[in-house]
């Protein structure tokens, strides 16, 4: 049973200016249990509409989405999901502890178990000292931590997070990453949207890239990293590597530099240089930029 499935999902709505918007256009994908999947796309790509469909906030115009085989938005499905909305201003006149107590009661938690869960979660997200202050006195980052804590109430099997790192400082991001990795180790599935590509790179198992409501790329992050990684060697002596290299040029003083897109060609090149008796001065592996990949892929799809 897949954790999340969308099949030929369409979302249409009427915008405030009266125009009909086709936000999601035939989106189909699956998220496997225990996987961390990043949902990427430029502004207006249809990410939030898709997440809202998954939570039942918006009804699909066509197609379907389900969570562990249950219709998205059903009470049974919602019992198994934790959700973090993008930049919420939690009740200004309640404290984080009261906020979590409220959400916990709605989740079905009661009594001392609820109090313990709320306190533990607030400690975990670093709000141990602030759990009894009014939300209105908290910073944006602290409110985001309240949001993260509420999404984890009831130990959900799937976490759906919309722009989860919004407002968090680098330390907060690192702590969140560790928290989510720990949850994944316990079997939790994570599906999140983000514009922070570095977070995506560090956290995800797989990415889904959408543009104009359509899925344009779906790739395991490791495979993508391998694909984007490039190698460069610098050596002395005239050995042509034109047939193997992406780029090959002379730096001067009988020194050459060659760039390769894959390890296989790099190894062949090193072998050739060494067989010719030339000296390899340097070998460098350069990690590719996810940002460039993102921009190029979106550019191609546009």
């Amino acid at each position: 049973m897949q954790a999340i499935v969308t099949e030929d999902l369409h979302v249409r709505y009427r915008a405030k200016n009266g125009q009909n918007v086709h936000a999601v256009q035939g989106l189909s994908f699956e998220v496997h249990p225990g996987e961390i999947v990043g949902f990427l796309g430029p502004n207006g790509a249809g990410k939030s509409s898709t997440l809202k469909c998954l939570m039942g906030f918006v009804q699909p115009s066509a197609g379907s989405c389900s969570v562990f085989g249950l219709p998205a938005g059903s009470l049974e499905a919602k019992r198994r999901i934790g959700y973090l909305p993008e930049v919420a201003l939690y009740y200004p006149y309640l404290t984080p502890l009261e906020t979590l107590t409220l959400y916990g009661e709605l989740q079905g938690l009661r009594g001392s178990a609820l109090k313990r869960a709320a306190t533990d979660l607030l400690e975990q997200v670093g709000l141990g000292q602030a759990m009894n202050k009014l939300n209105r006195s908290l910073s944006k980052g602290m409110l985001q931590r309240v949001g993260i804590a509420q999404s984890l109430l009831g130990d959900p099997e799937v976490l759906v997070l919309d722009e989860m790192t919004s407002g968090l400082d680098p330390i907060g991001r690192k702590e969140l990453r560790e928290l989510l990795k720990a949850r994944q180790a316990q079997g939790t599935t994570l599906f999140f949207s983000s514009h922070e590509l570095s977070e995506v790179e560090m956290l995800c198992d797989r990415i889904l890239l959408i543009h104009q409501g359509k899925l344009i790329e779906e790739r395991p992050i490791q495979a993508l990293k391998d694909e984007l990684r490039q190698f460069e060697i610098t050596y002395q002596g005239a050995v042509s590597l034109v047939d193997l290299a992406l780029e090959w040029n002379e730096l001067g003083h009988n020194t050459y530099r060659a760039r390769f897109s894959d390890k296989h060609n790099l190894l062949k090149a090193l072998d050739r240089v060494q067989r010719e008796g030339r000296a390899v001065v340097d070998v460098v592996a350069q990690e590719g930029s996810l940002e460039e990949f993102f921009v190029e892929t979106i550019g191609r799809a546009a």
Binding site: F57, Q59, K78, Y83, P85, Y90, Y91, E98, G108
Partner: protein, 258 residues
Amino acid sequence: MKLRVWWALARGVLLESLRRKDLWVVAILGMIIMAASGALGFFGVDGLQTFAKDLGVTVLGLFSTVIAILTTARLLPDEIRNRTLYPLLARPISRFDLLAGKLMGAILATWLAFVILLALTSVALLMFGVRFEAIMVQYALLKMVGLGVLCAVTLTLSAFMTPSAAATLSFVVAFGSSMIVRGLTMAYETSSPAMQWFFKFINSILPQFGLFDIGPRVANENWAPVPLWVVGGLLAYGVAYAGGMLLLAWSKFRSQAV
């Protein structure tokens, strides 16, 4: 289970209302009433008990109506604006439960404000030498039912329109429904059968707030308490009307994209 959900939501509304110091405003207004009545009593103006009671119930009705509308009109729109609606709807609760819990919270906050105002007004009236009558309890009970209906009407309107529009229309309905009904009654006799049917329809869907307000009876001395079956009937009408309003709000909200 449902009641627990409703109570959890209602408690949140009540707590926020208390912390936002809405009730402080009520207390200050009450103090003003007390001070004004006390001043009349101090200067020994005799024979004005009826006037004092009339003033008391009028001010009480006015302030509690304002509090009911302003507390309720912003509940749903604030949830949407602050995006706190999403974590609520992400829980395993239905949208009907959400509306019912919010309405319960608004009614409790309004009732609490009303009880504070009532207590302060009662003290002021006692200072003025007004003696306690059984009809005053009936007044308070029916007024609270009427305020509950008003909260339901306002919540429903806020599901269909902006908070300011909902508040404005609620004020019109709260203060104008009696006038509208009086106008309809006057025009009824001289109208065509089709128009009479239309007037009957309008009259039946308008909340009859006038029925819940026995303030004029309280103000005038020597009125006997209202028969209990009338109070029971009004209670049933209030619950049914508020329930109907809740269903109407739910019919709009149940599949609304948020």
